[in-house]
């Protein structure tokens, strides 16, 4: 039976009272938020605040205990396979195989997302042009500078043209110039209507987001634009905001 899904264009991620318990421990406690297409949404919190658990539920890796959530119009309980087709995931630290060449990495991830040979070939050509990597197409990934690796990781996460992109500390350890180039790329993607989810410990990454949610002890304690939050907490930068919010809780343990 074919069911036609009408995508909700204004909200690509809708989360209502989402909760995840591990035994007696509530990792994510009744969180609700909506993210629109074209938005860059930052997900902050101290170690162990529940960020990772929340993201894993949205990526279809973990079943929620209760609550509702749809990602790209698909239900996290029943349609996680379709969710996976519609999301891209990039962690600068991990996502590439260091012992494969640039080309092989692209081919592998293309294959994993079920692209046809022709599509993979076209995408590879396009990415090689775009990343200016033709000279290094057959170099092992581990020999590339970090800034390139990170743009490659993003490109492979975009191979299947996902609507929503999850970024995990995408520019940690990257030099200031490469970091800015990366964020320009992200803004471009957002302009194309893609939703960008960023989780990070780097407060300067947080500054680039349109809206931020800050988690503490499984709850979302703040959710607003960085500018508004800075004003509200009378802070110079997000670093100060974060410190004020997280210190208000019982701490990270």
């Amino acid at each position: 039976m074919e069911t036609v899904k009408i995508k909700n264009n204004s909200h690509s991620v809708i989360v209502e009272a989402l909760t995840k318990k591990f035994g007696g421990f509530t990792a994510v406690n009744n969180i609700s938020f909506r993210v629109s297409g074209g938005e860059i949404f930052g997900f902050l919190g101290a170690n162990g605040a529940g960020k990772t658990t929340a993201i894993r539920m949205l990526c279809g890796l973990l079943m929620p205990t209760s609550g509702q959530a749809t990602v790209a119009g698909f239900d996290v309980y029943t349609e996680y396979e379709k969710i996976k087709m519609n999301i891209g995931y990039m962690s600068q630290k991990f996502s590439l195989y260091e012992d494969l060449t640039v080309r092989e990495n692209i081919e592998f991830y293309g294959g994993v997302y079920g692209l046809s040979r022709k599509e993979i070939r076209e995408k590879t050509d396009y990415l090689m042009d775009y990343l200016k990597l033709w000279d290094h197409a057959d170099d092992l990934t581990k020999s590339l500078p970090l800034g390139w690796k990170q743009r490659m990781a993003l490109s492979t996460a975009l191979l299947h043209d996902p609507d929503i992109i999850f970024l995990d500390e995408p520019t940690s350890g990257v030099d200031p110039v490469s970091r800015r180039n990366f964020w320009l790329l992200i803004y471009e993607l957002a302009e194309q209507g893609k939703t960008i989810f960023v989780t990070t410990h780097f407060m300067d990454e947080a500054e680039y987001c349109h809206r931020l949610s800050i988690m503490r002890d499984g709850l979302i304690v703040e959710l607003d634009k960085p500018g508004v939050l800075k004003k509200k907490y009378n802070a110079e930068n997000m670093q100060d905001v974060f410190m004020k919010i997280v210190r208000g809780g019982k701490g990270q343990d």
Binding site: L61, E81, I87, F94, Y97, E107, F108, G111, V112
Partner: protein
Amino acid sequence: MNLILLSIIKKEFHHILRDPQTLTIIIFMPVMMLFLFGYAITLEMKQIETAIIDEAKSNESRAFIEQLMATDFFRITSADVKSNQIETIFKERKARCALIIPYDFSSALQRNKKVKIQLLVDASDPNAANFINNYVNQLNLKFNLKNNADVFIPFSFEPVMLYNPDLKSYYFFVPGLIAVILLLISALLTSIAIVREKERGTMEQILVSPVSPIQIIIGKTLPYTALGFLDSIIILLFGCLWFGVPLNGPVLLLGFSLILYIITGLSFGLLVSTISKTQQVAMLAALLATILPTIMLSGFIFPVASMPLIFQYLSLIVPATHFLEIIRGIMLKGIGLKELYIQLGYLFILTAFLIALSIKKFSRNLEG
């Protein structure tokens, strides 16, 4: 679907080929083990150092000694020893056994009286002691028949060694080694291949893609099945060409059993990967889960029939037990499907069970 699988398989081959160190180990470890077991650890005995105390010093006793020396079994290291020197000889390890021919050897023979030749064996190595004892008994029988032809013996044992007439231990070991090495290598390979991706974090990247756990499992195991098969061919070739182990039975059935058995090992590896967080743990667990039962319980060295009953039952759930019967049967006895279908059935059921269990655990692990 097919393309997804193909991508994973292709990538896995890249990993294998880009890591020449591991590849070398995979290919040379079996050959090395084969040589170790084939030569160093042999159950055959030859040239047993022997001391002779000939108290008779007659023609008959000399004939007897000559006959002993004609065999490859004994090597007389101390001839004409006084009986009070025996202990020193044993202690100095100049001999492992001593034959004492009594002074009435000839006269007793002539009077058709039973002669007692005393055999002293250094039993600090019980296996060897047993072996010597058996051999001498056999010899004794032959000697009796020859010299006392008129003595009526209603029956005689005439052992004929079938399938391995020379009792060469590598006939016994080569098939057994295939069982040990294949299981070990296939379990090691899969468990490490999966745990390595967990450690590096790339597993997470694959999990958020639409790849299903089954595809990951098949994509990961197929290349290693091929590698395991390559290994088994290498061992077989060495076994047959170098050690001269015969391959009497149907080759096709052997190939099929090998693949089935490799899949057993791979599913062991999958199971191990679900419980291991680091490559070291995976390696140790794979080693323990495969080597110990395979060597101790499968009949690789110790015959299953001579184990305590509980271990005999336990050996039924060790895949190697059945595989050993299959591979020894095919290679040495030249038997086929007709005689081996029960063992094949056992192996098949065990493998199916292991696969089901490991897939279930693996998938659940991904969900968690």
